[in-house]
Protein backbone atom coordinates (compact mmCIF):
# COMPACT_ATOMS: atom_id res chain seq x y z
CA UNK A 1 0.00 0.00 0.00
CA UNK A 2 1.33 3.40 -0.97
CA UNK A 3 1.84 6.22 1.47
CA UNK A 4 -0.92 8.23 -0.16
CA UNK A 5 -3.49 5.50 0.35
CA UNK A 6 -2.47 5.15 3.95
CA UNK A 7 -3.08 8.85 4.41
CA UNK A 8 -6.57 8.56 2.88
CA UNK A 9 -7.39 5.64 5.18
CA UNK A 10 -6.42 7.68 8.21
CA UNK A 11 -8.37 10.74 7.06
CA UNK A 12 -11.25 10.11 9.42
CA UNK A 13 -8.88 10.12 12.38
CA UNK A 14 -7.27 13.31 11.09
CA UNK A 15 -10.62 15.06 10.67
CA UNK A 16 -11.59 13.99 14.17
CA UNK A 17 -8.38 15.59 15.53
CA UNK A 18 -9.01 18.74 13.48
CA UNK A 19 -12.57 19.01 14.72
CA UNK A 20 -11.34 18.76 18.31
CA UNK A 21 -8.75 21.50 17.87
CA UNK A 22 -11.18 23.77 16.02
CA UNK A 23 -13.74 23.36 18.76
CA UNK A 24 -11.23 24.34 21.40
CA UNK A 25 -9.88 27.21 19.32
CA UNK A 26 -13.33 28.59 18.71
CA UNK A 27 -13.72 29.49 22.34
CA UNK A 28 -10.81 31.97 22.08
CA UNK A 29 -9.68 31.41 25.62
CA UNK A 30 -6.05 32.22 26.17
CA UNK A 31 -6.01 31.67 29.92
CA UNK A 32 -7.64 28.81 31.77
CA UNK A 33 -8.47 28.74 35.44
CA UNK A 34 -8.91 24.99 35.52
CA UNK A 35 -6.81 22.61 33.38
CA UNK A 36 -8.45 22.10 29.99
CA UNK A 37 -10.05 18.72 29.25
CA UNK A 38 -9.05 17.33 32.60
CA UNK A 39 -12.42 17.57 34.33
CA UNK A 40 -13.90 14.38 35.60
CA UNK A 41 -17.14 15.64 37.02
CA UNK A 42 -19.09 18.82 36.30
CA UNK A 43 -20.88 20.28 39.28
CA UNK A 44 -23.48 22.98 38.78
CA UNK A 45 -24.76 25.12 41.63
CA UNK A 46 -27.36 27.86 41.67
CA UNK A 47 -27.56 30.46 44.42
CA UNK A 48 -30.18 33.04 43.59
CA UNK A 49 -29.22 34.60 40.24
CA UNK A 50 -25.64 33.28 40.26
CA UNK A 51 -24.81 29.87 38.78
CA UNK A 52 -21.37 28.39 39.26
CA UNK A 53 -20.11 25.54 37.06
CA UNK A 54 -17.17 23.68 38.52
CA UNK A 55 -15.04 21.02 36.83
CA UNK A 56 -13.83 18.79 39.61
CA UNK A 57 -11.04 16.24 39.14
CA UNK A 58 -12.00 12.97 40.76
CA UNK A 59 -10.76 9.39 40.58
CA UNK A 60 -12.25 7.11 37.98
CA UNK A 61 -15.04 4.92 39.42
CA UNK A 62 -13.37 1.95 37.70
CA UNK A 63 -10.01 2.46 39.46
CA UNK A 64 -8.53 -0.83 40.63
CA UNK A 65 -11.27 -2.93 39.02
CA UNK A 66 -9.79 -3.34 35.54
CA UNK A 67 -9.43 -6.98 34.53
CA UNK A 68 -5.95 -8.14 33.50
CA UNK A 69 -6.82 -10.13 30.40
CA UNK A 70 -4.12 -12.56 29.22
CA UNK A 71 -2.91 -12.47 25.63
CA UNK A 72 -1.13 -10.17 23.19
CA UNK A 73 -1.56 -6.42 23.59
CA UNK A 74 -2.61 -5.76 20.00
CA UNK A 75 -5.93 -7.53 20.56
CA UNK A 76 -8.96 -5.86 22.12
CA UNK A 77 -10.09 -6.91 25.65
CA UNK A 78 -13.04 -8.95 24.40
CA UNK A 79 -10.90 -10.80 21.83
CA UNK A 80 -8.29 -11.58 24.49
CA UNK A 81 -10.86 -13.06 26.88
CA UNK A 82 -12.58 -14.98 24.05
CA UNK A 83 -15.99 -14.74 25.73
CA UNK A 84 -19.32 -15.84 24.33
CA UNK A 85 -21.21 -12.71 25.35
CA UNK A 86 -24.99 -12.86 25.09
CA UNK A 87 -27.50 -10.05 25.38
CA UNK A 88 -28.59 -11.24 28.82
CA UNK A 89 -25.08 -10.60 30.26
CA UNK A 90 -26.03 -7.04 31.16
CA UNK A 91 -23.16 -6.58 33.63
CA UNK A 92 -20.67 -6.82 30.73
CA UNK A 93 -22.75 -4.98 28.13
CA UNK A 94 -23.61 -2.04 30.39
CA UNK A 95 -19.88 -1.20 30.64
CA UNK A 96 -19.99 -0.22 26.98
CA UNK A 97 -23.14 1.89 27.30
CA UNK A 98 -23.21 5.58 28.18
CA UNK A 99 -25.76 7.17 30.46
CA UNK A 100 -27.98 8.12 27.49
CA UNK A 101 -28.08 4.58 26.10
CA UNK A 102 -25.56 5.06 23.29
CA UNK A 103 -22.50 2.90 22.77
CA UNK A 104 -19.12 4.15 24.00
CA UNK A 105 -16.99 5.20 21.00
CA UNK A 106 -14.30 2.81 19.83
CA UNK A 107 -11.49 5.31 20.59
CA UNK A 108 -12.38 5.04 24.29
CA UNK A 109 -13.47 1.42 24.69
CA UNK A 110 -10.59 0.06 22.60
CA UNK A 111 -12.67 -2.65 20.92
CA UNK A 112 -11.77 -3.97 17.48
CA UNK A 113 -14.32 -3.27 14.77
CA UNK A 114 -15.92 -6.77 14.61
CA UNK A 115 -16.41 -6.78 18.39
CA UNK A 116 -17.71 -3.20 18.29
CA UNK A 117 -20.27 -4.15 15.63
CA UNK A 118 -21.28 -7.21 17.67
CA UNK A 119 -21.67 -5.01 20.76
CA UNK A 120 -24.04 -2.67 18.86
CA UNK A 121 -26.35 -5.65 18.16
CA UNK A 122 -26.13 -6.89 21.76
CA UNK A 123 -27.00 -3.45 23.17
CA UNK A 124 -29.97 -3.18 20.83
CA UNK A 125 -31.25 -6.58 21.94
CA UNK A 126 -30.77 -5.82 25.64
CA UNK A 127 -32.59 -2.52 25.23
CA UNK A 128 -35.55 -4.00 23.36
CA UNK A 129 -35.83 -6.87 25.86
CA UNK A 130 -36.14 -4.24 28.62
CA UNK A 131 -33.01 -5.32 30.52
CA UNK A 132 -31.43 -1.86 30.77
CA UNK A 133 -34.38 0.39 31.60
CA UNK A 134 -32.45 3.26 33.18
CA UNK A 135 -29.77 3.65 30.48
CA UNK A 136 -31.84 5.72 28.08
CA UNK A 137 -32.20 9.37 26.97
CA UNK A 138 -33.66 11.53 29.66
CA UNK A 139 -36.64 12.95 27.77
CA UNK A 140 -39.66 11.79 29.67
CA UNK A 141 -40.68 12.59 33.24
CA UNK A 142 -39.60 10.01 35.76
CA UNK A 143 -42.85 8.11 35.96
CA UNK A 144 -42.72 7.41 32.20
CA UNK A 145 -39.00 6.81 31.89
CA UNK A 146 -39.26 3.45 33.63
CA UNK A 147 -40.87 1.65 30.70
CA UNK A 148 -42.01 2.53 27.22
CA UNK A 149 -45.78 2.68 26.84
CA UNK A 150 -45.67 2.65 23.07
CA UNK A 151 -47.90 -0.10 21.61
CA UNK A 152 -45.98 -3.39 21.35
CA UNK A 153 -42.78 -2.11 22.99
CA UNK A 154 -44.14 -2.58 26.51
CA UNK A 155 -44.44 -6.35 26.14
CA UNK A 156 -41.65 -8.84 26.81
CA UNK A 157 -39.31 -9.90 24.04
CA UNK A 158 -36.75 -12.69 23.80
CA UNK A 159 -34.12 -13.62 21.24
CA UNK A 160 -33.33 -17.19 20.26
CA UNK A 161 -29.87 -17.10 21.89
CA UNK A 162 -31.11 -18.01 25.37
CA UNK A 163 -33.31 -21.00 24.52
CA UNK A 164 -32.53 -24.03 26.65
CA UNK A 165 -32.76 -27.69 25.61
Amino acid sequence: MSAGMRFVNNLHKLSYRLALTQKIGHQNRSAHISPLLKAREVIEKTEGNVTTIEGKIVDSPRKGKILDAPGPDNLCPLCRLDLDVKYTDVKIISQFVQEDGNIVPRQISGLCFPQHRQMIHLIHKAHSAGLMQHLRPHIFPEEYSHMSDHAWKKYNVYYTEIIEE
Binding site: S94, H138, V157
Partner: protein, 189 residues
Protein backbone atom coordinates in the same frame (compact mmCIF):
# COMPACT_ATOMS: atom_id res chain seq x y z
CA UNK B 1 -55.64 -56.27 47.78
CA UNK B 2 -56.39 -52.88 49.31
CA UNK B 3 -52.98 -51.65 48.17
CA UNK B 4 -53.68 -52.29 44.47
CA UNK B 5 -56.91 -50.35 44.74
CA UNK B 6 -55.03 -47.29 46.01
CA UNK B 7 -52.47 -47.59 43.21
CA UNK B 8 -55.28 -47.54 40.69
CA UNK B 9 -56.78 -44.44 42.27
CA UNK B 10 -53.40 -42.73 42.04
CA UNK B 11 -52.95 -43.75 38.41
CA UNK B 12 -56.39 -42.68 37.25
CA UNK B 13 -56.61 -39.46 39.30
CA UNK B 14 -56.29 -36.12 37.52
CA UNK B 15 -53.33 -34.26 39.02
CA UNK B 16 -53.08 -30.46 38.85
CA UNK B 17 -49.94 -28.77 37.50
CA UNK B 18 -48.72 -25.19 37.83
CA UNK B 19 -46.85 -23.36 35.05
CA UNK B 20 -45.31 -19.87 35.27
CA UNK B 21 -45.49 -18.22 31.82
CA UNK B 22 -43.25 -15.27 32.70
CA UNK B 23 -40.75 -14.63 29.85
CA UNK B 24 -41.79 -17.87 28.11
CA UNK B 25 -42.55 -18.31 24.43
CA UNK B 26 -46.32 -19.07 24.14
CA UNK B 27 -46.00 -21.32 21.08
CA UNK B 28 -43.21 -23.55 22.37
CA UNK B 29 -44.67 -23.76 25.87
CA UNK B 30 -48.05 -24.74 24.35
CA UNK B 31 -46.45 -27.93 23.00
CA UNK B 32 -45.24 -28.78 26.49
CA UNK B 33 -48.58 -27.96 28.15
CA UNK B 34 -50.45 -30.15 25.63
CA UNK B 35 -48.41 -33.15 26.74
CA UNK B 36 -49.84 -32.81 30.25
CA UNK B 37 -53.35 -31.86 29.08
CA UNK B 38 -53.65 -34.93 26.83
CA UNK B 39 -51.97 -37.24 29.37
CA UNK B 40 -49.10 -38.20 27.08
CA UNK B 41 -46.72 -38.30 30.06
CA UNK B 42 -48.63 -41.24 31.57
CA UNK B 43 -47.90 -44.91 30.77
CA UNK B 44 -51.63 -45.66 30.40
CA UNK B 45 -52.09 -43.04 27.67
CA UNK B 46 -54.26 -43.86 24.68
CA UNK B 47 -55.36 -41.25 22.10
CA UNK B 48 -59.02 -42.27 22.38
CA UNK B 49 -59.15 -42.24 26.19
CA UNK B 50 -59.62 -39.08 28.21
CA UNK B 51 -56.79 -39.33 30.78
CA UNK B 52 -55.34 -35.82 30.78
CA UNK B 53 -54.39 -33.59 33.72
CA UNK B 54 -55.31 -30.06 34.74
CA UNK B 55 -52.81 -27.24 34.10
CA UNK B 56 -52.96 -23.86 35.86
CA UNK B 57 -50.96 -21.17 34.05
CA UNK B 58 -50.06 -17.92 35.85
CA UNK B 59 -48.44 -14.69 34.60
CA UNK B 60 -49.81 -15.05 31.04
CA UNK B 61 -49.60 -11.26 30.79
CA UNK B 62 -45.79 -11.45 30.78
CA UNK B 63 -45.24 -13.98 27.97
CA UNK B 64 -42.34 -13.17 25.67
CA UNK B 65 -42.46 -13.19 21.87
CA UNK B 66 -39.41 -13.71 19.66
CA UNK B 67 -37.83 -10.57 18.19
CA UNK B 68 -40.60 -8.50 16.53
CA UNK B 69 -43.43 -11.06 16.50
CA UNK B 70 -45.57 -8.77 18.65
CA UNK B 71 -45.81 -6.50 15.64
CA UNK B 72 -45.70 -9.08 12.82
CA UNK B 73 -47.79 -12.05 13.99
CA UNK B 74 -51.30 -11.83 12.55
CA UNK B 75 -54.38 -13.47 14.11
CA UNK B 76 -57.16 -13.86 11.54
CA UNK B 77 -60.86 -14.35 12.05
CA UNK B 78 -63.71 -14.93 9.60
CA UNK B 79 -67.40 -14.75 10.50
CA UNK B 80 -68.36 -16.29 7.08
CA UNK B 81 -70.55 -13.29 6.35
CA UNK B 82 -69.79 -10.83 3.56
CA UNK B 83 -67.04 -8.51 4.73
CA UNK B 84 -66.63 -10.57 7.87
CA UNK B 85 -62.88 -11.11 7.59
CA UNK B 86 -60.70 -9.39 10.09
CA UNK B 87 -57.13 -9.62 11.39
CA UNK B 88 -55.26 -8.25 14.37
CA UNK B 89 -51.59 -8.18 15.31
CA UNK B 90 -50.42 -10.09 18.36
CA UNK B 91 -49.98 -7.02 20.56
CA UNK B 92 -53.52 -5.82 19.77
CA UNK B 93 -55.00 -9.22 20.68
CA UNK B 94 -52.88 -9.27 23.83
CA UNK B 95 -54.13 -5.83 24.81
CA UNK B 96 -57.75 -6.98 24.54
CA UNK B 97 -57.24 -10.15 26.61
CA UNK B 98 -54.00 -11.15 28.32
CA UNK B 99 -54.87 -14.88 28.20
CA UNK B 100 -55.96 -15.04 24.55
CA UNK B 101 -52.56 -15.66 22.93
CA UNK B 102 -51.70 -18.64 25.11
CA UNK B 103 -55.24 -20.02 24.69
CA UNK B 104 -54.98 -19.90 20.91
CA UNK B 105 -51.47 -21.38 20.99
CA UNK B 106 -52.63 -24.37 23.07
CA UNK B 107 -55.77 -24.73 20.96
CA UNK B 108 -53.74 -25.08 17.76
CA UNK B 109 -51.22 -27.42 19.41
CA UNK B 110 -53.95 -29.74 20.77
CA UNK B 111 -55.10 -32.74 18.71
CA UNK B 112 -57.73 -31.87 16.10
CA UNK B 113 -60.47 -34.24 17.18
CA UNK B 114 -63.55 -34.26 19.40
CA UNK B 115 -61.43 -34.46 22.57
CA UNK B 116 -60.11 -30.93 22.02
CA UNK B 117 -62.95 -29.03 23.79
CA UNK B 118 -62.60 -31.21 26.89
CA UNK B 119 -58.82 -30.74 26.85
CA UNK B 120 -59.23 -26.97 26.65
CA UNK B 121 -61.62 -27.01 29.60
CA UNK B 122 -58.81 -28.41 31.76
CA UNK B 123 -56.57 -25.41 31.01
CA UNK B 124 -56.85 -22.58 33.54
CA UNK B 125 -55.22 -19.29 32.46
CA UNK B 126 -54.60 -16.31 34.75
CA UNK B 127 -52.95 -13.03 33.69
CA UNK B 128 -51.38 -12.38 37.10
CA UNK B 129 -50.27 -14.43 40.08
CA UNK B 130 -53.52 -14.23 42.01
CA UNK B 131 -55.49 -17.44 41.47
CA UNK B 132 -58.72 -18.34 43.31
CA UNK B 133 -58.19 -20.52 46.35
CA UNK B 134 -60.40 -23.37 45.13
CA UNK B 135 -58.12 -23.78 42.10
CA UNK B 136 -54.65 -23.18 43.57
CA UNK B 137 -55.56 -25.56 46.41
CA UNK B 138 -55.64 -28.51 44.00
CA UNK B 139 -52.14 -27.92 42.59
CA UNK B 140 -49.64 -30.59 43.59
CA UNK B 141 -46.70 -30.12 41.20
CA UNK B 142 -44.91 -27.63 38.95
CA UNK B 143 -44.03 -27.86 35.25
CA UNK B 144 -40.49 -26.69 34.53
CA UNK B 145 -40.06 -23.49 32.49
CA UNK B 146 -38.62 -23.86 29.00
CA UNK B 147 -36.60 -20.63 28.94
CA UNK B 148 -34.31 -18.86 31.37
CA UNK B 149 -35.88 -15.71 32.80
CA UNK B 150 -33.33 -12.93 32.13
CA UNK B 151 -32.20 -10.70 34.99
CA UNK B 152 -32.42 -6.96 34.27
CA UNK B 153 -29.66 -4.57 35.32
CA UNK B 154 -31.87 -2.97 37.97
CA UNK B 155 -32.18 -6.27 39.86
CA UNK B 156 -28.46 -6.13 40.77
CA UNK B 157 -27.38 -3.90 43.63
CA UNK B 158 -25.09 -0.90 42.99
CA UNK B 159 -22.25 -2.54 44.90
CA UNK B 160 -22.62 -5.74 42.88
CA UNK B 161 -22.23 -3.81 39.61
CA UNK B 162 -19.27 -1.80 40.93
CA UNK B 163 -17.32 -4.86 42.02
CA UNK B 164 -17.79 -6.67 38.71
CA UNK B 165 -14.45 -6.65 36.80
CA UNK B 166 -14.30 -3.91 34.16
CA UNK B 167 -12.85 -4.33 30.67
CA UNK B 168 -11.56 -0.77 30.10
CA UNK B 169 -10.93 2.43 32.04
CA UNK B 170 -12.13 5.92 31.18
CA UNK B 171 -9.45 8.18 29.63
CA UNK B 172 -7.97 11.05 31.60
CA UNK B 173 -10.04 13.78 29.90
CA UNK B 174 -13.35 11.97 30.27
CA UNK B 175 -16.20 13.96 31.76
CA UNK B 176 -18.53 11.95 33.95
CA UNK B 177 -22.11 12.86 33.16
CA UNK B 178 -24.52 12.64 36.03
CA UNK B 179 -28.21 12.76 35.41
CA UNK B 180 -30.05 15.52 37.23
CA UNK B 181 -32.62 14.38 39.72
CA UNK B 182 -36.05 15.45 38.47
CA UNK B 183 -38.16 14.49 41.44
CA UNK B 184 -40.46 17.44 41.78
CA UNK B 185 -42.67 16.59 44.70
CA UNK B 186 -46.20 17.74 44.12
CA UNK B 187 -47.44 19.85 46.97
CA UNK B 188 -50.78 18.53 48.02
CA UNK B 189 -53.04 21.39 48.98
Amino acid sequence: MAHNRVIQWGAMARTWWLYDAKFQCPYRSAEKLCMYLEGRHKPLYHPLSDVGDHVVVINTRYVAMAEDLWRKQQYKHDTRYAGGKSSATAWRLHEADYTKILYKAVYSAAPKNLLRPTIMRRLHLYPEEDVPDDIIGNVSDVIRQIQVVPKPLDSYSAQEIEEFPKLFDWPEDHVIYKRKATTEKKEES
